[in-house]
């Protein structure tokens, strides 16, 4: 009788055996077990319609069992009568449910479309990648599973994942790759992509020999795996991508959706059975938290690894809430019907506000402390028990929400706080642990990535409370969170002012304060304690700036913008928000230069001392630009295609680049980022992924020069060098340096010999006059 300890790698429905589970044993063995796993969905509605449904299903006793039952409806705040439909084989569940919903569209349904891993986690406690002890019978039917480490353990035992990595030599949408690099256990192989038979034979041999648990690819979803499968069929060489025999890979369609006001594109997906596939180019936030963070997301959300890599943090939060609801016996609505309560329009003025912002004063501020509430909104939800079912419409209770005509029921912990509490506690614990972990510690990176994954989950949990498709979202709860947030920030401001601090800025969950005598972290500690005392919410010191600069808006320099600033902490580290160095759509040429300027300013005790060097640096960058010495890839702009091409009235540069790609037979979807160069003449752009090579002489040097000077001006304007002055200074001085060189030929004539490149020897003033 098999009995072992190991990790749950994958689980999925099977038409014959019910549920299939794959485990990685501690001893290195890989186990395939099965289990009969009946699942239940619930129908709610009028008695007559429930009776009709019962009559419709009652004659299928081998597949389905029916029961009248009571379940908790979180929106009605009471138990309701439901018809429980239990399907013996989970593989059939989706089909049976769809048939039922189509035939009885007026009924409401719950627990209907949940991932099998969530149901398994709710009923057994075992979640994907959990470390567990397993007992099975001789037929490899799972009998018992005990979790050894829960999802909230800070230091979990590392999983001995066997990883096979596949990546082409070049991005396939940019150029045709010529070889494939395969890596496993430190060995690297290069396979020629022009000779398919040897590639397929060798790749199959590697998969058979090493039997990887995870296939990690670049463009595997959108290019590599579809191509491999196509060639494998053509040459009749099965690759064995699935560990589970007899199953085809699972395809999921590409999609475009809105998230936080931005259009997002996700390519098609290929999921495997018995092992996992992650496409690093199609994975969510891979650049931020890599595999360590993805594993963390999988564990805490109970979503399989290959799913957790591709879903948004919002789906992750939703999964945590659903598992909590299943464990509590609360109905998980299939389609939420609950709408906003009817309220007087007058209330909208007070209720429908976001976070509190006090605009900063533009310019340089020295010795400023930045203090932030730790995960403010999740902390509010947990601390004040905010959940859809705890909002009371009649404000007679004690726990009134500030400035809202609502109260919170604190008699019982709500669903959302219950789901978020362990996540929040783990994040706080992890943050503390990170602070005390030295930089040389090999686990620091792992912790940092996992902490980042948790941060993203917590960041989205507030938005999900107001999101239209969230199962447990409710707009009043969403409004209550921001109301408490504003109140907390105001109390923090009062505490700071009472203790003699000057408040420089307030921004949703943080405040920037200044005190002439309190410039060390330990001197800020009493303020933190006072704020914590007045608000009941955890707060921490982000750091003390040697200096911080708040810059004005692009449209109106005199108008402050709360989240556009940069500064240098006492330890020399730089923090940047909202300027080119941080923006994903700015060119590396510009953002790197801006960052270098900041480093120059940070390197001097007084930033003013760095100005001569900064100007020399800008001149040098402009010289390299004009001489064509900046690599074209450093001049790339990556803008997101905001809508379908036909929806544009005036084509943006990104849309013009997409037109060029379309002409070359390449399709782009809204939400995808389009890399392009600014070029001279019309259409003014060159799409980087066109089959042709760009001509470096056509690069719009003037435009990149403007972009660089604008970015530099943002950094230096607080020291008297705004874009205009900087342009005057840098360009005029540059020409003085080159003018004394004696020439026989007129410089203007010479400049025409190099079309597209502004000759560095030409004085721009002269050139303009000539034009």
């Amino acid at each position: 009788m098999p009995e072992f300890s190991g990790w749950l790698l994958d689980l999925f429905e099977d038409p014959r055996e019910g549920l299939i589970l794959y485990f990685i044993g501690e001893d290195g063995m890989r186990w395939r077990l099965s289990q009969s796993f009946p699942i239940t969905f619930y129908a709610l509605g009028k008695d007559a319609e429930l009776r009709a449904l019962w009559q419709h299903l009652k004659d299928r006793p081998r597949e389905i069992s029916l029961e009248r039952s009571q379940r908790m409806d979180v929106f009605k705040r009471q138990a309701v009568t439901v018809l429980a439909v239990t399907i013996n084989n989970p593989y059939e569940a989706r089909k049976i449910f769809q048939q039922t919903a189509n035939r009885f569209p007026n009924l409401e349904y719950s627990d209907a479309d949940l991932q099998i891993s969530l149901r398994f986690a709710a009923s057994t406690g075992a979640f994907p990648l959990s470390h567990c002890h397993v007992v099975a019978d001789e037929l490899h039917h799972l009998k018992e599973i005990t979790v050894l480490e829960d999802a909230w353990t800070l230091k979990s035992t590392p999983i001995p994942l066997q990883i096979l990595s596949l990546s082409p030599d070049v991005a396939p949408h940019h150029a045709r790759p010529s070889y494939l690099t395969v890596e496993i256990l430190g060995e690297t192989y290069h396979f020629d992509l022009r000779t398919w038979r040897p590639l397929l034979v060798n790749l199959r041999a590697l998969i058979q020999r090493y039997d990887p648990d995870l296939i990690l690819t670049d463009w595997g979803d959108t290019w590599l795996l579809p191509l491999l499968l196509q060639q494998s069929e053509k040459y009749h060489i099965p690759l064995g991508l699935n560990r589970e025999t007899g199953r085809c890979v699972s395809w999921r369609e590409e999609r475009t959706y809105f998230s936080y006001g931005q259009i997002v594109y996700r390519g098609q997906q290929i999921h495997l059975f018995g092992r996992c596939h992650i496409d690093r180019q199609n994975a969510v936030l891979w650049n931020d938290y890599k595999l360590d963070g993805t594993i963390e997301v999988s564990r805490v959300t109970s979503l399989p690894l290959q799913t957790s890599a591709r879903v948004s943090p919002g789906t992750g939060i939703s999964s945590i809430e659903m598992v909590t609801a299943l464990r509590q016996g609360i109905l998980v609505p299939w389609q939420k019907q609950q709408a906003e309560m009817l309220k007087p329009a007058m209330d909208l003025f007070t209720a429908d506000q976001g976070g509190l912002v006090y605009q900063p004063r533009i310019g340089v501020h020295k010795k400023v402390a930045e203090i932030d509430f730790v995960s403010l909104y999740p902390a509010i939800m947990v601390h004040f028990n905010i959940s859809p079912e705890t909002i009371l419409p009649n404000p007679t209770a004690d726990n009134l929400v500030p400035a809202l005509g609502l109260a919170i029921d604190t008699s019982q912990e709500g669903l959302i706080p219950k789901a978020l509490r362990p996540l929040l506690e783990k994040r706080i614990e992890m943050k503390k642990h990170l602070a005390s972990t030295p930089t040389w510690d090999p686990y620091r990176k792992n912790f940092k990535r996992r902490a980042s994954a948790l941060k993203w989950l917590l960041v989205t949990c507030f938005g999900y409370l107001g999101y239209k498709n969230a199962r447990f979202g409710r707009i009043e709860a969403h409004q209550a969170v921001t109301a408490y947030g504003r109140e907390a920030l105001l109390r923090a401001k009062e505490a700071a002012e009472d203790m003699g601090f000057r408040v420089i800025q307030l921004y949703v969950d943080g405040l920037w304060v200044q005190h002439p005598d309190k410039t060390q972290p330990e001197e800020i500690e009493p303020l933190l304690l006072e704020i914590q005392e007045r608000t009941g919410l955890p707060i921490s010191l982000d750091g003390i700036y040697r200096w911080v600069v708040f810059v004005g808006s692009r449209q109106n320099k005199k108008r402050p913008v709360a989240n556009r600033y940069f500064g240098v902490f006492q330890d020399g580290s730089i923090k940047v928000r909202g300027i080119d160095a941080r923006r994903r759509d700015s060119t590396p040429f510009v953002s790197d230069a801006q960052m270098h300027l900041l480093e120059l300013l940070a390197s001097k005790p007084e930033p003013e001392d760095a100005l001569p060097e900064a100007i020399r640096f800008i001149r040098e960058r402009l010289r390299t630009l004009r001489n064509g010495q900046v690599g074209l890839s450093d001049l790339l702009v990556r803008q997101r295609l905001g809508r379908k091409l036909e929806a544009y009235r005036t084509l943006s540069p990104a849309a013009r680049a997409v037109l060029q790609l379309q002409a070359a037979g390449k399709e782009m979807r809204p939400g995808q980022r389009v890399p392009f160069l600014y070029t001279m003449g019309k259409p003014g752009v060159f799409a980087w992924d066109r089959p042709q090579h760009p001509n470096p002489r056509t690069v719009d040097v003037e435009r990149y020069q403007r972009l660089l000077l604008r970015a530099a001006g943002i950094v230096l304007e607080s020291w008297g060098l705004d874009e205009e002055k900087l342009t005057e200074k840098v360009l005029s001085d540059a020409s003085q340096l080159t003018l004394p060189v004696p020439r026989k030929q007129h410089p203007l004539k010479h400049s025409r010999n190099i079309p597209g490149i502004v000759n560095p020897t030409v004085n721009p003033t002269l050139k303009n006059k000539a034009q």
């Binding site: 569209p105 389609q335 939420k336 019907q337 609950q338 709408a339 906003e340 309560m341 009817l342 309220k343 007087p344 329009a345 007058m346 909208l348 003025f349 239209k468 498709n469 707009i475 036909e646 929806a647 009235r649």
Partner: protein, 182 residues
């Protein structure tokens, strides 16, 4: 005083008034809403999150100083999905209170929901609206989009069939090129 005038007549009980117009019509709708709110309670269902409280307050202010009191007469609820829109219409009291539905089709043009299901829910919603309009004034605004799709027309058609009073407004044509100034 230069009072804003509503370009739409006040809806009457017994029929559904429909305004088919681009987003710019919100201001006029708020003026109409202000006129209704001055008479008593009004229910607003907002399908496109486009209710403009400030415009409404300004419109009320042109008639009375008691802006807050009149604003309290306007009862508002926002729907973000077609399920919510249908559920909200089903829950409305049929007591003669006028009902205004703003950007009703926005929630039904949600591609995340199956097309047939959306059509069924729209039919249900229109039936509910018909029932409400028997005893109370009911007005609906269907927003026209700059680049309409085939679906827009498919969902607008049943609404046009249901309504008795139809007002169709078009956005002024924006010239592609700058007109000569001299």
């Amino acid at each position: 005083m230069n009072r804003q005038l509503t370009i739409f007549p006040i809806p009457k009980a017994g029929k559904i008034s429909l305004v088919v117009a681009p987003r710019g019509v919100v201001q006029s709708l708020m003026t109409m809403l202000a006129a209704l709110a001055l008479r008593g309670r009004v229910i607003v269902l907002d399908g496109g999150n486009c209710f403009n409280g400030y415009a409404l307050a300004r419109a009320i202010r042109q008639h009375t100083h008691q802006v807050k009191d009149v604003l309290k007469q306007v009862m508002l609820s926002r729907a973000f999905t077609c399920y919510q829109m249908t559920a909200m219409l089903a829950k409305l009291p049929i007591d003669g209170t006028p009902v205004i539905v703003l950007d009703m089709l926005a929630t039904f043009l949600d591609e995340n929901v199956n097309f047939n299901k959306r059509q069924r829910l729209l039919d249900n919603s229109l039936n509910l609206l018909r029932r409400i309009s028997e005893g109370a004034p009911a007005a609906v605004w269907a927003r026209t989009r700059a680049t309409p799709t085939g679906e827009d027309q498919q969902f607008l058609a049943p609404l046009l069939e249901t309504a008795q009073d139809i007002w169709e407004l078009q956005a002024p044509e924006i010239p592609v090129h700058q007109l000569p100034l001299f």
